[in-house]
Subunit: 364 residues, 2 copies
C-alpha cells in the first residue's frame, strides 16, 4: 500500500463504503462527510499513509464520535469538537499528535477523522481498530494488544469536556458512556493515544483503502443500474444472507445505545420465509424464522436497499423497506478467544457460541 | 479568629459537630474522623488558619467526598483517593495547592479534609462553602461569587479518575454525578480551585471553629447527662422544632442520592401530633401533620437522638427512634434570591416559597 491523498470529492465513496462497513451502525457517515468536505475545501486534501510509514515513537491518536447514532442524526456536531478533544489530549500529554487513526472503519467514525486530519494537517493512517463498526469503546484490536484507552478526552458541542483515566478499557467505556449520556447522547473523543510501534502491532491494515474501494464499487454498480450486492460479495469474500422486507421494527435508545430488532418477510428468492435482525447501534445477529443464526457478531452483517442498492443503517430501517442482507467474515483477530470475549455473541447477551459465517451459510 | 492546631483527639468534637451541622446528611463523619486521626497520628497535627492569613494569589482547593452517604457507609474509602484527586488537579494546573478548604461544614466532608491536610502538610482554612451540608456540587457560596467548579478531578478507590471541565457549575454537577454513579455511588473530588482573593470573598467564615465548638458543647452536655438540644439552640440562635418518634421511613438511592421521607409521631410535649421530614442526603423540609412547613432548606434542620443526645443522620433513621429536631437560620447569603435559586425549596421540587425559620416557628 502506498500513501494517497483524499480530496473533497473522494469523501463521497468513502462515506458510501463507510456506511456499508458500518454494518448498520456507527451513525450516518453523511454528517461526517459534510464536515470532512468543508474542512478539506478550507485546509486542503488529507494524506492517508501506510502504517509502515509511521515512526515507532510517533504519537498516534484515534478521534471518534461516541454515542447513539439515532441522537447524532438530530444533534449535529458543531464541527470542531473532535479537534478540540484532540487539542485537550495533546495538552494533557504535553505532546503534539503525529498521526490520526480511525477507531472504526464504518459509519460516522470513518468520515469524522478526515475532517480532523484536514483541519490539523495531520496524516491519517490507512487502517482502523475494528475493520467494521462496534458499539463500545473497548471493542478495538488495540485492546487485544494491551493498549490503554486512556488518557482520553471527551467533549460535547456545548463546551464541556473531561480527561478520563481508568484502570481498564472496560472502565473507560463505563465512565465515558455515562458522560456521553449526560452530554445529550453523543460526544466526541480523542482516545487510545499510542506510540507508532504499538499502532503497527494492533491496527487492522488498509481498511481506509478498502472503504474507498467498496464505496467506488457501490457507485459504479449503481451507475450501471445493478444492485452492488453481487460485486461486493465477490470483492469481500461475502455471503448472501437473504432479501426481505421489514414488517415490524422495535427500537429504544437506552444507556446511550440505539437498540432494537427488526422482523422481515422474504421477497424474491426468499419469498415465504421469515427473518429477524437484532442490533445495538450495529447489526449483531441475523436469524431465519426458526431462530437459527445466519450470521453473528463479530462477522459483519451489512444491509443494502434492495431497490436503490445504497447501504442502510439501523436508524433508517422502516416498515416496508426491502433490504439485501450480506454477511462477511470478520478480521481473524476477532475470531480468537480474546476477540470473542470482547465482541462475540455471548458478550452481547446472546445464548450461543460464535460460528463462522462460512459454516452457518453452508449449513443453510 | 486565630490559627489553631487540630490534634487526633480534637477530631472527636469536630466529627460530632460535623454530624450535627450535616443536617442529617453529608455522610457519617465517623469514617472521615478515622481517616483524619490516622493521618494526624502519622504526619502530625493540622493547622487551621483564618481566611485573612491566606495571600491573595494562593491556590486554595476544596477536597470532598461526592455521592450517596448510604453508599459510603458500606464502601469505605481506601484513604488516599482525596489526596490522589488533589495531586492530579495540581498536575493538571501545573501548580501546587497552598491551602485546603472544606466544601461543606457538615458530615463526612467536615472531617475528610483534615486527613488530606495532615497527609500533605497544607493548612486548612477556617470556613466552608455551605455552613452546613447540601447534596449537589454547585450548592456552594463560591458559585454565587462566580467561582468555577472546574477544572476538577474525580477519583474512585479502584484507580479510575477524570479531570472535568464544564461551562457551568450545574454542568459540573451533572457530569461528575454521572461519574460518581458509575464509580459505585461514591467518589472523591478536588474541585473549585480558586485564588486566595476569591476565596476570601466567597467562603463562609469560621465554620470549622464553630463545628468544633458545637461538638464540644454536645460532649459537655452529654457528660452531664443533659440532652444538648437546649444548649445548642442557645448557642446557634436555633429553634426547637419538635420531639417525635419515627413510625414510618421510606428511602431509595437514586441518581447517586439517598432520598426519602420519615413520618413521626410526637412524644413528650408534642404528644398527639404528627410530623414528617423529607431528605435528599440532607433534611430539606420538616412539616407538621397538616403539611404546614416548620422549617425548609436552606435553613438547617438537625436531629439529635432524644435519649442519648447524639446527632442522627438520615441513614440512621429507623422505626421507633425518638428524635429532637432543631431548626437553625442559614447563612444570610443563602436567603438571597441567588441563594434560594441554588438551594431553596423550589429547586428541590417543593411547591412553596422559602419562609425564614424565625417566622415559621413564630407562626407555629
Amino acid at each position: 500500500m502506498t500513501t494517497f491523498t483524499v480530496s473533497a470529492a473522494d469523501m463521497e465513496p468513502i462515506a458510501l463504503g463507510g456506511a456499508f462497513l458500518g454494518t448498520g451502525g456507527g451513525g450516518d457517515p453523511h454528517i461526517g462527510k459534510l464536515m470532512a468536505r468543508a474542512a478539506i475545501e478550507q485546509y486542503g486534501p488529507v494524506r492517508v499513509i501506510d502504517a509502515e510509514e509511521v515512526s515507532d515513537d510517533a504519537l498516534c491518536v484515534p478521534v471518534a464520535m461516541m454515542g447513539a447514532p439515532t441522537v447524532m442524526v438530530e444533534k449535529l456536531p458543531r464541527g470542531d469538537e473532535a479537534r478540540e478533544a484532540l487539542t485537550q489530549l495533546e495538552t494533557f500529554l504535553g505532546r503534539k499528535a503525529d498521526a490520526l487513526i480511525c477507531i472504526e472503519a464504518g459509519g460516522l467514525n470513518s468520515t469524522i477523522p478526515f475532517a480532523v486530519a484536514a483541519a490539523t494537517g495531520l496524516p491519517l493512517i490507512d487502517g482502523d481498530g475494528m475493520g467494521r463498526a462496534f458499539p463500545e469503546l473497548q471493542m478495538v484490536s488495540f485492546t487485544m494488544h494491551g493498549v490503554a484507552a486512556t488518557p482520553m478526552v471527551i467533549a460535547d458541542e456545548k463546551g464541556n469536556s473531561s480527561v478520563i483515566n481508568t484502570i481498564s478499557n472496560q472502565w473507560t467505556e463505563k465512565l465515558a458512556r455515562a458522560q456521553t449520556v449526560e452530554m445529550g447522547g453523543a460526544a466526541l473523543v480523542a482516545i487510545y493515544p499510542m506510540q507508532g510501534a504499538r499502532m503497527k502491532k494492533g491496527i487492522l491494515r488498509n481498511t481506509l483503502s478498502l472503504i474507498k474501494e467498496v464505496g467506488e464499487t457501490i457507485a459504479t454498480e449503481r451507475a450501471q443500474n445493478r444492485n452492488p450486492a453481487e460485486a461486493l460479495i465477490a470483492r469481500l469474500d461475502g455471503r448472501r444472507l437473504f432479501t426481505a422486507r421489514v414488517v415490524d421494527i422495535e427500537r429504544r435508545t437506552t444507556g446511550g445505545f440505539a437498540r432494537g430488532k427488526a422482523i422481515l418477510k422474504g421477497v424474491d428468492a426468499d419469498q415465504g420465509r421469515s427473518f429477524s435482525v437484532e442490533f445495538q447501534n450495529e447489526f449483531l445477529i441475523a436469524r431465519d424464522g426458526e431462530g437459527t443464526a445466519l450470521a453473528t457478531t463479530p462477522d459483519l452483517i451489512c444491509a443494502l436497499d434492495a431497490d436503490g442498492g445504497l447501504p442502510i443503517t439501523t436508524e433508517q430501517l422502516r416498515y416496508g423497506l426491502a433490504l439485501s442482507f450480506i454477511g462477511m467474515p470478520s478480521d481473524p483477530q476477532w475470531r480468537t478467544k480474546a476477540g470473542l470475549d470482547l465482541v462475540g455473541p455471548r458478550y452481547f447477551g446472546y445464548d450461543q457460541d460464535f460460528v463462522p459465517l462460512e459454516q452457518l451459510t453452508k449449513a443453510a
